[in-house]
């Protein structure tokens, strides 16, 4: 692609339809800046989404959504004024600047802010449009085949629901320092929910797939694998018994179980929590918080991943930040506001749910780097414990560092062998303590399949999580059984 293809595509989808040009942005940025303003930006978004639902073997409930607008922010020190508008015309931009100034009590200038810094370029994903004209039929066909495929795997499958989401997001951001950047981000996600029944008992299994992919890249083997996994989970859970309760060794499979590091480490290393002295990791940078061999990174620059960003929502290129290096706490994730106030550099983690939300430091793809242990030997090393391959999400309390996550597919380990499946159990720990109990790190790093999302202060975003197989020597496992 040409160096500016991504930026040109963003301009074509945002500025051109609104009838505005960079001069309008320069004028509005000047009007946003008041005495003492250290940061001001305009964030434009244009989003086209389609969703389809599969139920009883039929694709029903199709929807199409147009979201577009602009958010205007101005900050003096840590005090932020913010307003947004669904109207992106020149007159609306002037009104928006007035609204922001009214909130922060300052009076704006007449100067223009020249946009002189060249937009960054990237090749992490192509500027394709997944929702282009005539594209819906191919997506519907993809979704429509899932019911029959799942039922063909096992007669105990009694119900199949699936859900497809296809999003084309274009963003353009310009700021007081004269930077302008644009990006177009295609996203597709498909989720499958299977109910199986045997002997009067029902159980569910879920799986999904997401990425910056077209129908051709999803059809066939990738989608078949998702269907098989959802059915297998439902069948396994048909036999599951209440999980045991107590402190025990836990082995976590590669991929999505890496949500452990998103919760236990990631959130506590977001810059805003450190600037406000709210994180349990505050003052611990440079300390050993995990065993040697434990390295955790946040990397927004992995090609094709759903958590990857050519530029973040403040125009900073996606990058790799080492959070824990060989057991030592090393890095924070920053947006522009918090980096500026902490005398640090933005790390490409400034993200927002939409133009109507303020950006914050947020994770991209966060994972534990591979070690040297053989996954089979990791399981074999446990006399009595839990082996978990799937989780329903997790939560963390930033202040205390206490995190939890709940299994959706897990088994007992007895004498080094995986035995009986167990129902959901909630695993708990404290971030700066739990990681010290990681004693084995597998050589089988995997990232999740593009289905993870993250909520922070009510804002939802797609992220990536991952890890190789690991053994944690001591973890509190809370089930419904003794």
């Amino acid at each position: 692609m040409t160096a500016s293809a991504m930026f040109d595509a963003a301009v074509a989808r945002i500025l051109t339809p609104a009838g505005i040009d960079p001069a309008d942005l320069s004028r509005t940025l000047g009007a946003l800046a008041t005495a003492g303003t250290n940061l001001a930006d305009l964030f434009f978004e244009s989003k086209r989404s389609r969703t389809f639902r599969l139920e009883d073997g039929r694709v029903v409930g199709g929807s199409f959504q147009i979201d577009q607008g602009v958010g205007a922010r101005s900050a003096r020190g840590g005090q932020v004024a913010f307003a947004h508008s669904a109207d992106t015309g020149a007159a609306a931009l002037a009104t928006l600047a007035d609204a922001v100034r009214a909130l922060d009590g300052g009076s704006g200038g007449e100067v223009q802010v020249p946009l002189t810094v060249a937009p960054p370029v990237h090749d992490l994903y192509p500027p394709i449009e997944l929702n282009g004209d005539g594209s819906a039929a191919a997506w519907i066909a993809l979704l429509g085949g899932i019911d029959a495929a799942a039922r063909a795997i096992d007669p105990r499958v009694v119900r199949v629901n699936a859900w497809l989401r296809i999003v084309d997001q274009a963003i353009l951001v310009a700021d007081l320092d004269g930077r302008i950047a644009g990006d177009v981000r295609p996203t597709m996600q498909i989720f499958i929910d299977v109910v199986a029944e045997a002997n009067g008992r029902r159980a569910t299994g879920q799986n999904g797939l997401g990425g910056r992919w077209s129908t051709d890249e999803v059809a066939g083997a990738p989608l078949d694998r998702v269907i098989v996994r959802a059915v297998e989970m439902a069948l396994v859970n048909l036999d599951a018994r209440p999980a045991p309760t107590g402190t025990m060794p836990v082995v976590l499979a590669p991929g999505y179980p890496g949500v452990l590091f998103h919760e236990a480490v990631g959130h506590g290393l977001e810059g805003d929590h450190h600037r406000k002295n709210l994180s349990a990791f505050g003052g611990r940078i440079g300390e050993r918080i995990a065993a040697k061999g434990v390295t955790v990174v946040d990397d927004g620059s992995l090609p094709g991943r759903i958590g990857s960003l050519g530029v973040d929502d403040e125009g900073t290129p996606g990058a790799r930040t080492v959070l824990i290096e060989d057991g030592i706490l090393t890095g924070l994730m920053q947006d522009r506001l918090n980096a500026g106030l902490m005398n640090a550099r933005p790390t490409g983690n400034g993200r927002r749910q939409s133009y109507a939300h303020l950006p914050m430091p947020r994770m991209t793809n966060t994972f534990l780097v591979a070690g040297n242990d053989d996954p089979g030997e990791i399981v074999a090393s446990v006399k009595s414990g839990i082996y978990a391959t799937a989780f329903g999400g997790g939560r963390v309390d930033i202040v205390t560092g206490r995190f939890n996550f709940t299994t959706t597919q897990a088994w007992l380990i007895e004498n080094g062998r995986i035995t009986a499946p167990v129902e959901g159990a909630t695993l708990i720990g404290v971030g700066h303590e739990a990681l010290k109990h990681i004693s084995m790190v597998g050589n089988d790093l995997g990232l999740d399949d593009g289905v993870a999302n993250c909520s922070k202060q009510g804002q939802q975003l797609d992220v990536g999580v991952g890890q190789p197989t690991i053994r944690i020597d001591r973890m509190m496992v809370g089930g419904a059984s003794s």
Partner: protein
């Protein structure tokens, strides 16, 4: 009176009606349109200064068009004629691609809430951003100025004061056209307490449609400080099976899980731990759960749902027996039942017990020795099996008296057993959104702790 919102019900009804006409021009057999607009402001403060000041303004239109029994939906935030036509065309195109779904057809006009009473929901705050800023700064000062035990300090994580107004209007090709305006306001206070061992935070909040009915700022900030300082020194308890008392504000979680199990889609899919529950005893026989859509200024009140159908005051649980589901029109048809007007979820719900539970302190005395759950930090309910495991924090009670804060514990059980195992509901009623309940005492659950 200062209004945040620049539009009104009549204008949005007109927007919706015009969109119906556009869809019919395209050839749609039926069309259902919902148009909405809202405006709000929010100020947060901490550390003696405002943190953020936000103006919020939203609008949107959602339209579902039908070609025979095929439906397509589209929505747009822009309400100009070109955008509305584009959305209509998209919806019409989708309806040409998907399968028949006759259960999803819109209701007849005779089924709709054309003349039912509309509960009052609109009480504009009359505040400007300056008034909210002053309140937020006051609240921050109250937290930072709270007196605490020696060796303990308190700070503000955030004080958040917000007010908003909105209007929603619905029009259909069957001739329905109604709208309603509403308001909402909230204060959210989060305090952080520190001692030599570390820090904990906790919150208190108040939400109401009437700004003047919000809990007093001083009471909320004092509660947030009390909750945060009360968790200092928390420690685990040993794993055991025993009684659990869910404080009212977290007991709403249990009602939320019950609502999910009795909702139409899980019921017709068989994805619920209470399948075919109507007429069956699903909870302890002293429990009633009453739904009321018409409570004046209720947080979950309304004259009709998004399908234009009214709810009614009714029993969901009557002496522990399930008497009602929460149905939208599609799930009602699939189950062969009457509509209930719950396309937007439950209306206001109130859990009560026929046996007096007394105060929170009475419930502690009744429990004798056990765990009070004051926070649910995360976990999951399996909608199909009812398996329920959560990470919690709270207080340990001995001889009916709180003795120390508890943290790093889990609570596990099965919802079916938990509902029948409710032995008392307190008179200390908390309202969280649509749900009202007192504290709930359950006879026996699995507690996990590493102590």
């Amino acid at each position: 009176m200062t209004r945040l919102l620049a539009t009104d019900v009549a204008t949005m009804e007109d927007v919706a009606t015009r969109a119906v006409a556009v869809a019919r021009e395209l050839g749609a057999d039926h069309a259902v349109v919902s148009a909405r607009a809202s405006a709000g402001m929010q100020v947060t403060a901490r550390d003696g200064a405002t943190d953020t000041a936000l103006r919020d303004a939203r609008q949107g239109l959602s339209l579902t068009v039908y070609r025979g029994a095929r439906a397509g939906t589209a929505s747009t935030m822009a309400l100009d004629p070109v955008s509305v036509r584009r959305a209509s065309e998209e919806a019409f195109a989708i309806a040409g691609l998907v399968a028949d779904d006759p259960d999803a057809l819109p209701p007849d006009l005779s089924q709709m809430a054309t003349d039912t009473p509309l509960p009052p929901l609109d009480a504009p705050s009359g505040r400007d951003p300056g008034a909210l800023r002053a309140m937020a700064l006051d609240g921050d000062a109250m937290i930072r100025g709270a007196s605490t035990a020696p060796g303990t300090s308190v700070e503000t994580v955030v004080i958040d004061v917000s007010a908003s107004e909105g209007v929603v209007a619905m029009a259909t090709s069957a001739g329905f056209c109604r709208g309603q305006s509403y308001s909402s306001a909230s204060i959210w206070a989060v305090a952080l307490a520190r001692d030599a061992e570390g820090a904990v935070n906790d919150s208190a909040n108040s939400s109401d449609r009437r700004f003047d009915r919000l809990d007093p700022l001083a009471a909320l900030t004092a509660l947030a400080v009390e909750r945060a300082t009360g968790q200092l020194g928390g420690r685990a308890v040993p794993s055991h099976r025993g009684p659990v008392l869910f404080e009212a504000r977290v007991a709403t979680q249990l009602i939320g899980d019950l609502v999910g199990a009795l909702s139409g889609t899980p019921q017709h899919r068989g994805s619920t731990f209470l399948p075919e529950a109507l007429g069956k005893m699903v909870a302890a026989d002293h429990l009633d759960l009453i739904e009321d859509p018409f409570e004046p200024y209720g947080l979950a009140s309304g004259g009709f749902d998004r399908e234009g159908i009214a709810g009614r005051r009714r029993a969901i649980l009557n002496a522990g027996v399930a008497e009602g589901y929460f149905l939208n029109l599609r799930s009602a048809r699939r189950l062969g039942m009457d509509q209930t007007g719950n396309a937007d979820g439950p209306w206001n719900l109130r859990l009560t017990s026929r046996a007096s539970g007394g105060t929170f302190e009475d419930l502690c005395r009744r429990m004798g020795r056990g765990l009070v759950v004051r926070r649910i930090n995360g976990g999951a309910t399996d909608a199909v099996t009812g398996n329920w495991t959560y990470a919690v924090a709270g207080t340990w009670v001995e001889d009916g008296v709180p003795v120390h804060a508890v943290t790093d514990v889990t609570v596990g059980g099965n919802m079916c057993d938990m509902l029948t195992g409710i032995v008392a509901v307190g008179g200390d009623v908390h309202r969280g959104g649509a749900l009202r309940t007192g504290s709930i005492l359950i006879d026996a659950m699995q507690i996990g702790g590493g102590a």
